[in-house]
Symmetry: C2
Subunit: 425 residues, 2 copies
Amino acid sequence: MFEFEDYYKIDMDESHKAEAYSALKEELDGGEVGYYLLPEDISLVANIESYILEKNLASDRIENVVILGIGGSSLGTKAIDRLLEYSTKRDENAIRRRNNKNLIFLENVDPNEIEESLKGVRVDNSVFIVISKSGGTIETTSSFKFLLKRFGLTFDDEVFQNSFIIITDKNSPLDQFANDFNLKVFHLPTNVGGRFSVLSAVGLLPLALVGYDIGEILAGAKELKESFFAKKEDMLIKKAYYYAINREKTPINVLFSYSSAFKFFNEWFVQLWAESLGKINRDGEHVGLTPVGLIGSIDQHSFLQLIIEGPKDKNVTMIKVKNFDNDLMIPDITLPHLEKTDFINNHTFNELINAQCDATMQSILDQDIGLDRIVIDRLTEKSVGYLILYFELLTSLTGYFLNLNTYDQPGVELGKKILQERFSK
Amino acid sequence: MFEFEDYYKIDMDESHKAEAYSALKEELDGGEVGYYLLPEDISLVANIESYILEKNLASDRIENVVILGIGGSSLGTKAIDRLLEYSTKRDENAIRRRNNKNLIFLENVDPNEIEESLKGVRVDNSVFIVISKSGGTIETTSSFKFLLKRFGLTFDDEVFQNSFIIITDKNSPLDQFANDFNLKVFHLPTNVGGRFSVLSAVGLLPLALVGYDIGEILAGAKELKESFFAKKEDMLIKKAYYYAINREKTPINVLFSYSSAFKFFNEWFVQLWAESLGKINRDGEHVGLTPVGLIGSIDQHSFLQLIIEGPKDKNVTMIKVKNFDNDLMIPDITLPHLEKTDFINNHTFNELINAQCDATMQSILDQDIGLDRIVIDRLTEKSVGYLILYFELLTSLTGYFLNLNTYDQPGVELGKKILQERFSK
């Protein structure tokens, strides 16, 4: 399913490796970090699937799945949908295919975007999922209130109660609201932070609604989880260690993904990495690694120049998808005067984009820049589940080596307080 | 139209300022840097508009404007369209409104994306614009060949000659091809690089086709150009100088734009900044500043944590749009148990997003992080033209202070060579 290549050389004591395995095992056993348990939550898959059946939400009546959520409540779902939508739509023989329901995200409070997003959305052709871990996210509650008004719904309205689903922490204010008015609730385990929540109901419910095999997504994550806790993932530990010890020399980590399908996956990674690792650590130091997400080949015409000739302050991880399952070809046509482009004729676009990935990798390695590459056989529910957990574990490990709390986000609270004060005057 | 605020303090000799004005004036007068002249090219506007009339390309028959181009040939157009589309679509009384034609970009060579992008695209309902400065960009020529095959077109075909428009350098191989087969060509001035080309035909032709007032875009740019060369833009010079002298202390420049409309503008900026300034400079040093584009409020739930608590290696520029011309409101609804979110009731989303921008700015300033802010009255053709030139001039000035050639990109050539060698074996 995967090949992992790394081209940096580091020496690492066996004892350091053992300690890293132990540290994450302690987090798992101690129960403070809940995302490790998500890949095994088969009962959640069953609950989601039976709820969809019971309420007939797979029916063609539902044209839109509208997510009210921001940050960790939306990025992971967007990422997985974009990774899988092309491939599963194209596969006529697949048991599960992405259906044609629109996934619509009310994330930002940009009024023009809200208006544009809601075109064609009605209560009778849509299901709405309100996602907020704490329950009080101002963007999400504001959009929620706006929809209530727009559709003229009251809390006791059956239409309201049947169209809105809540995902939140148990006993959060939003949970209590949902209980008062008989809304369906899926709980987020309290020990799972927003940015680590895509394999919980936060991601699985909307992904199931648009037709993906969410059991397979978990199965992929579970495969890596088991292998990791069986201490068979030394490369992952080495990579985290490499990032941590080079945090001052190379504080910028570039994820260079060769397929447009990774657009939102890159954004999900950026959130996970920036918000988990940008911290005052236990030694009182301001630490953190700046993530940058790039798409190949597009960004060969942009950011690559900075990587190659700029300061040597970056590491690069490349992602290559071997099989796009698509045989579109560059035809054997010679454009007079442009004969020098003929070298690619009679090759597939799949071959071209992969050859570009290889060539760019070579040109970066020639500059002695730290690089590793993840080669994925094909994008499937299973491989995507594996990939998600790969980056989550990498984040936990890097946070461990940086000696910080990977799972909190104290730096973003001040702005919220200032906001509230402004309106309370 | 604009307010510029800066919150960093620097001392700068008057002589340094004068030298910077002179340096850019020399570039203008010497004729090596052509983008300074674009805002005044009124004859291009007339040519584009009369060509659209002559060929009746504004008609409803044309449903799709398909751009074949990558990097500098696509990002600027995408950026401006996204900045303006909501506002000009909503304004019922505007003289010009964005029409309903789809702008479709064939950028990447991801085969699944190509297939998805071309759904519903036929020769008889579309116009195709092939954009390549050098003429030989492999992504663009490959897509071009693919379309020829897909639609069964031959070079002598009138349908082909009437549906495809070329934008390239004079005498490039693509220009020669176009001349052989009577294709309409718009030339890019040879002294205008791809990433500085959005105010040339590269951006103006597609933007005119979807209905924007391209004369106004140029007028906005011209206003700043004249003011700059009249030596009235000291703040811009101070900002570039500040970035350059702090290049080692704060090598990361964050653009934090408070509206979803800036999504592609951020990407345009990232290309402009990374590819222009990531260089081996004239003193033989690897210099460069890493750009990061963020969208507020979304990235308050992501990257902001890293800015606030991470290493002090960043400067931030915020962008705020005062008027979204949209009065969508957060209604006066109390969600039981969520009363603490009521402080925002009866305010517009426009007020909320702007208050979030203010609050985030305050929380960043509290950390003593270098920050400036651009406040735009509203997004119009004119203000967007001004903003484009603002960042282009800032790039030229920063490149001047970093003592490098802002306009070349030698670092991306090696990968192209390796790619070609792979297929020539």
